[in-house]
């Protein structure tokens, strides 16, 4: 159990800076998700914490101890990788136990921990198989077992679910969340998938171009995005951005935005209603995403699946002025009155 802190951490690859002045305090037992697109610096940040990349400037602490110059094995962290990174020539059992053997843990204690991990992860019958005899989900469980038995101060997950199919991803997401709550181990989790980020995180760190865009609880980030990047990145379908006036919403200095669920279909003749034409309907079952043309503006609106109008239909929209996000010319959020 440990806190983690990054203090002014920077990473350069040659002349290119890929992580700028990164500051973050992670509380003991907290699950923090680093989320961003490719090239945002999220994996590099995690690898600097693990000791797999040198830190160009700044200090990394685990449990208050400065680990910036320590090799990975002395940092007391365990990591789960996107491609599982299991040793192909060893069985699941040996993959899980190897880290303990190298640390000279007594064999009886190794057996106890490996047995415990196999129970928790439901690996019982698979322990004597080699990685190529396991499915993707099973391999990822073995990789998690290898991290768990180390009983590390910090768990690191680097896009652990990206190689799994959608159904398995949902299931494993639940398992990781349950496991982390149960073990109470401080966890840093990297993903590009904002659904994964929203559902798992105690706190989110949104990164873009190697810079922190916002740090906060998932709902807080969703409801109060710090800037236009965060507003567009978090939320599916993404926020509608509009420049100029539309219906009851006046033009501002920069663009303004409204989330798809804050736009509702209303009857013709409703005061301040905006008229739009349906350009595309994406039916998802319970809901449908309507892509609308309202003059020169384009909007996405979420409606119940059964009530979706067809392509080409003319609809009337109510935009709730209280739900509008305003941004200044630089793209930073303008604080709302409420």
């Amino acid at each position: 159990m440990a806190t983690v802190s990054f203090e002014g951490v920077r990473k350069d690859f040659g002349p290119t800076t890929v992580v700028h002045d990164f500051d973050l305090q992670v509380a003991d037992g907290e699950l923090v998700v680093l989320v961003g697109g490719s090239g945002s610096g999220k994996s590099t940040t995690l690898r600097m914490l693990a000791g797999l990349e040198d830190v160009s400037a700044g200090v990394v602490r685990i449990g208050g101890r400065d680990v910036t110059a320590l090799p990975p094995r002395d940092r007391d962290v365990a990591m789960v990788f996107q491609d599982y990174a299991l040793y192909p020539h060893l069985t699941a059992r040996d993959n899980i136990a190897l880290g303990l053997r190298l640390r000279k843990i007594p064999p009886a204690e190794i057996d106890r921990r490996v047995g415990w991990a196999a129970d928790v992860l439901g690996l019982g019958a698979l322990m004597d198989r080699k990685p190529k005899q396991l499915s993707g989900g099973q391999r990822q469980r073995v990789a998690m077992g290898r991290a768990m038995v180390r009983e590390p101060a910090v768990f690191l997950f680097d896009e652990p679910l990206s190689n799994l199919d959608a159904q398995l991803r949902g299931q494993m997401r639940g398992e990781i969340a349950r496991l982390q709550r149960r073990l109470g181990t401080t966890t840093l989790y990297v993903t590009h998938d904002q659904v994964e980020a929203m559902t798992l995180a105690d706190r989110l760190v949104i990164l873009d171009g190697g810079r922190v865009q916002q740090i906060g609880a998932p709902l807080q980030v969703y409801q109060r995005p710090a800037n236009r990047f965060v507003a567009g990145f978090i939320g599916t379908p993404p926020m509608n951005f509009i420049e100029g006036a539309l219906g009851p919403i006046a033009a501002g200095v920069g663009a303004w935005g409204i989330r798809p669920e804050d736009v509702t279909l209303v009857a013709a003749g409703t005061p301040d209603a905006v008229t739009a034409e349906v350009a595309l309907v994406e039916l998802l079952g319970a809901q449908a995403h309507l892509h609308l043309d309202a003059g020169q503006h384009r909007l996405i609106v979420v409606v119940p699946g059964g009530a979706a109008p067809g392509k080409g239909a003319v609809v009337h929209l109510h935009l709730d002025p209280a739900r509008v996000h305003r941004f200044d010319a630089a793209g930073n959020a303008v604080p709302r009155a409420d």
């Binding site: 690898r47 000791g51 990975p72 365990a78 599982y84 040793y87 192909p88 880290g99 640390r103 190529k132």
Partner: protein
């Protein structure tokens, strides 16, 4: 029908390769009167040729010398080559590109060109007529390093990361993580180096004069050139050649599965 034709052609091609070898093997068991025939089965089989060879040259000693030199060279090339290849493939340090370029450039220099300078060096070091002259110049092999480097580049980075987090140092990563994965390229490099060392004649002829230190091919060359095989000595010479070739054939039979796998190219599965 077409398949039968194909197999007949393949069988003929195989026979053109295997017949001379079988003839050589058979002839070593023939008495002098039968040596000229093309038959593969001696009418009066005899070990006389082997006995003559053994009595006129120190074949046993030379065989041991060859085994020692080839084994030490092969082991050294695999161990040092793996370490060098790992560094070139997986570690970043200043001058890595330069080192790699220099290694590639070394491939362009023909061995004959370095023969005399290396010999001069051996003389300066006082290593002429010692095992050191046979072994030390062959501890590194650039081709081996490049083949292993190419394979090491294919190993996913995360596997090295995982091993480092598990607490392994770089040497342990090479020999406990990479080596179990690298069977085919190690077998291929090992076989090339072993055969190269085993068959080497020119270099031993330069640096070894004492019979007790001679390797087998050197001894046999001296044996043949010196006329020690005696009159009508073709069968005796062939017997000596058999002693030379059998260990390589045996080594190949053991390693052929990996060797073929490696020649057809392999990635990491699973």
């Amino acid at each position: 029908m077409r398949r039968a034709l194909l197999y007949a052609l393949l069988a003929m091609a195989a026979a053109t390769f295997i017949y001379p070898f079988l003839w050589m093997a058979a002839t070593t068991f023939k008495p002098a009167t039968e040596v000229g025939t093309l038959s593969l089965i001696p009418d009066h089989p005899t070990f006389e040729n082997y006995r003559v060879m053994w009595s006129r040259a120190r074949v046993g000693r030379a065989l041991l010398n060859s085994l020692l030199v080839a084994t030490v060279n092969t082991t050294a090339v695999l161990v040092f080559g793996s370490i060098t290849a790992y560094a070139l493939a997986r570690l970043s340090f200043p001058g890595r590109g330069l080192l790699l370029g220099a290694s590639l450039a070394a491939l362009l220099v023909p061995g004959q060109l370095t023969l005399i300078p290396t010999y001069a060096l051996m003389v300066q070091l006082g290593w002429v007529d010692t095992y050191a002259a046979l072994i030390v110049p062959y501890l590194f092999n650039v081709t081996g390093i490049l083949i292993l480097r190419q394979f090491f580049l294919q190993v996913p980075r995360s596997l090295i990361d995982a091993a480092r987090l598990d607490g392994m140092g770089e040497l342990r990563i090479i020999f406990t993580v990479f080596w179990p994965l690298a069977g085919p390229p190690l077998a291929m490099v090992g076989l090339f180096v072993f055969m190269g060392s085993w068959n080497e004649v020119l270099w031993p002829l330069l640096v070894i004069r004492e019979e007790g230190l001679m390797t087998l091919p050197q001894l046999l060359t001296v044996f043949r050139m010196g006329g020690a095989a005696g009159p009508g000595g073709l069968a005796v010479q062939l017997a000596a050649a058999m002693v030379l070739v059998v260990p390589v054939v045996v080594a190949y039979l053991f390693l052929q599965r990996w060797f073929i796998e490696s020649m057809t190219g392999t990635g990491l599965k699973g």
